[in-house]
Amino acid sequence: MWWSDYASPGAWDELIDGQGRPRSGCDGVVARLIQLGPDLVERQRTAESVIHTMGITFSVYSDGTNVDRAWPFDIIPRVITAQEWARTTEGLVQRLQALNLFIADIYGDRKVVGDGVFPAELLSDSVNLRAECMGVEPPLGVWAHICGSDLVRDADGTMYVLEDNLRVPSGVSYLLENRQVTKRVFADLFRDLDIHPVDSYPNKLFELLASLSPRPGDQPVIAVLTPGIFNSAYFEHSFLAQQMGAQLVEGPDLFVDSDDCVYLRTVGGPVRVDVIYRRVDDLFLDPEVFRSDSALGVPGLMRAWRAGKVGIANAPGAGVADDKVVYAYVPDLIRYYLGEDPLIPNVPTFRCHLADERSHVLANLERMVVKPANESGGYGLFIGSPSTAEQRDEVKRRVLADPRNYVGQPILSLSTAPTLCEGDSIEPRHLDLRPFILSGETSYVTAGGLTRVALRKGSLVVNSSQGGGSKDTWIVDPTVTPIRRAP
């Protein structure tokens, strides 16, 4: 069949090793996929129609309008062994502990600056530092309650953290929906493989949010604050509210009264809100404090939060650590705050505000990825290998004009996994992984994460806004014996 000549030269493949054999722990899955044969294509079609009917969409902004597109999904799962995932989970929890201590420190005494671990000048230039948050001590001391960290694997199989999304990370609904789709189309395959379930996320998120309530003991009123239906992640906001039994609200649905409490406008009159899971950026949260032209926010929300009358996740200002320059310091922060070595390494990162690191980046542009410190969604990304001299000059100009805002990283050959491509062939495509980490009284990491895959051959850009697709991620316990192949 197609599988016999599958190979992924130059990259680590998640499912098949260099000799064309299933990787350790993946033989059960591979055996079943081979057994399916051409039926696999049939099931891909079924999955697409299931996605259509379930209305799993994402919106793309183009030509001045928002277009709702069906969520792109590849049926061949990405497999990680339970052992490897246990180690990764530990590393992610460690990372978030350090990041939360760092954010609290920045808005508090700034010991990390005083001790010479983190340079003060990076703070004065930070676009995500919120002076309005100085001195605030949110419940549990946690600022970044929900984090989506991107993991990638290089050609030698090492897993790296590529970035930490601490503002309003999205994608978790697709992780959950991908599993729903897989269960519908692979019901027969699922039964006798030991795949870790992913469904507990909404419940864990609810518990985390409830723990932030200023009225402990009462049944908390929780609201998911969305910018509205035109936001590209609206599907997810609605999905999470539904899964948690929370209210999905827009700014105008809320108001802050003279008692500094936040209220919902309901058909029965005002009802006090205890916790807001906000999916609106800091600067739009409260027109009294931040952008006064914001219609997405709630006037007085910051006042209510500072008075401790409402819990907000992620806390305003948490994004100060979501900065690709801060990222470069995370291994140091882990050592500084926890006295431990990082369990998951960073991708080597060159900081353009430091002269020697900057000249390394500029001298090696063809082998570099250059990233603006504060963009997400893959926007503003420069990838050296396919670039023209003109593009390199352009990025050089940008870096020199604002060195603080850029970092450079060597181009990793992201790992691949077999993907059903045009013409129904199975070809390797590059991918990454976004697990979600919840931090509260305890920590929780999703079983696996959202695997995003670059559907264009050779492409390293996995963002769904730029032609990326997705796969279900299976954390599999390889101690379960694989099925025997039929003679």
């Binding site: 239906i229 609200v249 105008p252 058909v267």
Partner: protein, 316 residues
């Protein structure tokens, strides 16, 4: 369970649009069948359907194809079945967090089906199967909501939306039928009065229930009385208003909308439709429609306004 004002409004409108889509599909279906029954000489046209949906001015010459297209497949016309379902879906999409997931899937898949099969609505050969599918799937969705969602405040707004739309649609159908008998061609149609009134009843799914309850032949006055006053038939104006007021009583701050509802019901108490001529029926129906409009405004002012100073939003 608390319900956001904005979400209540979306729920209310999705129910109205869903009901409107079903009713419009049924109108087209019944009128298509009536055409098969009447001789061409009777001069029945397609224009009356445009009057029902308040769109007479949108079509220059009301041929069968033009009218049916406008009412079913025309994505640019807000009253078409297709647009109503798209609007119901857009509203439901904003309320996914309070309605059962399965309801969203059902409506989404109906919407996709109509988008893909819009052409089949116009072609005579496929039209009836198209309308039947739409009607059946709308009813399935209504049944699904009834069966799986809690009958809480959200449900009340679905009910109020559905029943206001039904009451409104029933009055429109009656009004237009009265207009047919008032119009220029009335004399030619007179011999077919029973066929036409049967068709009116069918367009409100009322034919069989009418026969069972009236135990009389189909006649204009009897049909009118049934469609306006019968307390048991779910599409009679009386029943819709009663059901609507029952749902209102489940909500806080119901005084103003209840008063508006009682006012419409009051209009019907002493009225003798059998004694009315067509012009009087038309005037009477006009009053009912104004009353239903006032009821809608009362619901909207009481529950949907976002102002904290608004009448409803003063106390917990």
């Amino acid at each position: 369970m608390m319900l956001l004002s904005r979400v209540a409004e979306n729920v209310y409108w999705s129910a109205r649009y869903l009901e409107r889509a079903e009713a419009t599909a049924r109108l087209v279906e019944v009128h298509s069948k009536l055409f098969l029954d009447l001789p061409r000489a009777a001069g029945l046209g397609w224009a009356p359907l445009l009057l029902v949906t308040g769109t007479a001015e949108d079509v220059a010459s009301p041929t069968e194809e033009a009218v049916v297209r406008l009412l079913t497949a025309d994505a640019g016309h807000p009253g078409s079945v297709r647009s109503c379902l798209a609007a119901a879906r857009a509203n439901l999409r904003l309320t996914r967090s309070v309605l059962p997931e399965s309801a969203w899937e059902e409506l989404n898949s109906l919407h996709l089906w109509v988008e893909q099969n819009a052409g089949h609505a116009v072609d005579r050969r496929t039209r009836l199967s198209w309308t039947t599918t739409v009607i059946r799937r709308c009813q399935m969705l209504a049944g699904l909501l009834n069966g799986v969602m809690s009958h809480d405040e959200t449900w009340s707004f679905l009910e109020i939306g559905r029943h206001l739309e039904r009451a409104d649609m029933t009055t429109r159908v009656i009004d237009v039928q009265a207009g047919v008998f008032l119009g220029a061609g009335a004399a030619q149609l007179q011999p077919y009065a029973d066929v036409i009134w049967s068709s009116v009843l069918r367009s409100l799914s009322a034919h069989q229930m009418f026969l069972r309850s009236s135990r009389a032949g189909v006649s204009g006055p009897e049909a009118l009385r049934f469609l306006l006053r019968n307390p048991q038939f779910p599409r009679s104006v009386e029943h819709c208003l009663t059901a609507g007021s029952r749902s209102l009583l489940e909500l806080p701050f119901y005084e103003a909308p209840m008063a508006a509802c009682a006012a419409v019901q009051g209009l019907m108490v002493d009225v003798d439709v059998a004694a009315m001529d067509a012009a009087e029926v038309h005037t009477f129906i006009d009053q009912l429609q104004v009353g239903i409009g006032t009821l809608h405004e009362a619901v909207s002012d009481t529950y949907f306004t976002l102002s904290p100073a608004g009448s409803a939003l003063t106390a917990v």
